[in-house]
């Protein structure tokens, strides 16, 4: 059984159908990609999968447990973590604190008004380790608003990782990044691959095909093709829709 499954998801906003009968499944330990042109419904799909919007129809299950329509908080607590396309960090906080906040031990003590954050060395050590994993150790005390674009992307991922996710959703991690930043990000995601179950929306086909085990193509709110990167390269649909060709970043 797949770790995370979505069956027959539909979502409409007013009379605009954004997702129509989408079914996806993500296996434990794999890296799955979701691609498609702008406005195809990728981000909405992510938002429905991670609880930002409830679907109108359909079911989402995590390890067999129905999580359809649960709040983002509940879904997060069950081990679904996500990064955001539009970066969404705690700007005034340092790199360490951004990560620290997401560590489950810290969160669980969230309502304890008499405990000291500075004294919670277990959570701090955990956060330090994650910061190191994403290569931000030398910027640990920098406020996240002062980081470079690529570093903020890495921090986005670190925050998602800190939640000790069973499945990690990355929303367009390369967006707005130059070639160099993209290479660095590729390396980072490669180190995470296999250790985490990852689902990634990505515009950049080249980037995605180098990483993904399986890719689903979404267009007009539907899954129009699915397969390994090799299978998709020869898929007539994908070729015709000129997805992610050179220059289409």
């Amino acid at each position: 059984m797949a770790l995370f499954e979505a069956k027959n998801l539909s979502k409409r906003f007013g009379d605009r159908v954004v997702l129509e009968d989408i079914s996806l499944s993500f296996e434990q330990g794999t890296l799955s990609g979701i691609m498609g042109p702008n406005g195809a419904g990728k981000s909405t799909c992510f938002n429905v999968l991670t609880g930002h919007f409830p679907p109108d129809r359909g079911r989402v299950t995590l390890d067999g447990e129905d999580i359809t329509g649960l709040s983002p908080r509940k879904i997060a607590q069950k081990g679904v973590a996500r990064s955001f396309q539009i970066m969404s960090l705690f700007d005034e906080l340092t790199v360490l604190e951004n990560v620290l906040f997401a560590v489950p031990e810290m969160r669980r003590s969230g309502m304890n008004p008499l405990k000291s954050v500075a004294g919670d060395t277990v959570s701090i050590d955990k956060a330090l380790e994650i910061v190191e994993q994403v290569g931000l150790s030398s910027h640990i005390d920098a406020r996240s608003i002062n980081l470079s674009y690529g570093q903020r992307r890495a921090l986005e991922i670190a925050v998602a990782l800190a939640a000790e996710p069973r499945i990690l959703f990355l929303d367009e991690p390369t967006q707005g990044m130059g070639a160099e930043g993209r290479d660095r990000l590729l390396e980072l995601v490669l180190t995470l691959k296999r250790r985490f179950t990852i689902v990634m929306i990505e515009h950049d086909m080249d980037f995605l095909f180098r990483l993904a085990d399986k890719v689903s193509v979404i267009h007009w709110g539907q899954v129009i093709a699915q397969g390994t990167p090799d299978e998709l390269r020869s898929d007539p649909w994908v070729r015709r829709s000129k997805l992610g060709g050179p220059g289409d970043a």
């Binding site: 709040s71 969160r107 969230g110 701090i124 640990i140």
Partner: protein, 345 residues
Amino acid sequence: MSLYTPLIAHGPGAKARGQAWITKPMLVTLALLASFPLWAEHVGLYQYLGIEVAIWMVYALGYNLLLGYTGLPAFGQGAFFGVGAYAYGLCYQHVTQNPLVCLPCSVLAASAAAALVGCLVAHRRGIYFALLTIACGQVFWFLAMKVTSVTGGEDGMLNLHRPPLLKDNITLFYFVVAVLAVTLVLLWRLVHSPFGKALQAIRMNETRARFVGYDVWLTKWAVVTLSGAFAGLSGGLMAASQESAYPDVMSVHSSGFIVMAVLIGGGTVSFWGPVWGALVFIVARDLLGALTETWLLWYGLLFMGVVLFQPEGIAGAYQHYKNKLAGRAKAAAPAIAPEAENGSV
């Protein structure tokens, strides 16, 4: 510059920041306050003024949990202040005249009222939050005016005599300062706890806080309730010191005073902002009020000046000044001076 004290991972002693229960600025503040009765009359002030200043400090510190720390612009805080005052009066009239029983009643009643309001406002932020709190505040004010059999209507409750032990203004002042000391320690502790950090995380990015797994609604509800509890405590203290409780403190403009006081003090950038703000507000009220009946006009102009030219208030100006000094010191001796920015102030 911000209210937030970062947790610094490296550097000597840095980890311990925020772990202390009692800090140097706390001791200095309390010592200065405690000396007030000795010099008040020599500079033309009077003993009772100190009581009001200290009460407003408690009120403002509690309010800043909402405004400064969580970024929630509450404009109906006076309701909880008033509920606290009336609860004190009701307890005094019907149960016991002992303030050590009446004050907890104030806290409980105001917390309950705030918890109720919290249920209505906790899912909102920004302008909607502000409007809802005004509306809720008005409901309480209206009740206080109309339910005359309980509150005494426009006249309020009179003759809530102080107990013999606190009859004297100076003794009562020290009692209030003791309450303030406890408030300072508790709130200092609170804002450096995971709960306090969660409040600030919500201010910075509510959506992310939710996706990281925090219960945003519950946290906001809790802070509305808690802040209401401190408003109730100060309302109770005010009823005790003025020996009366009246509805005016619950009106919209009274609720606005606490916002203005906290902003002028610099509550958005410093834990100590509300303390400065309460001091300036009450002293300005008395000094300006002695000169002219239209003191609010002048205070209003002062407020506009602060918002225009020094939006981070007194505490913000102080921090700028300190950072400038630190910058100069660093330029003079770059290798020696450790970073001192955003310390305990």
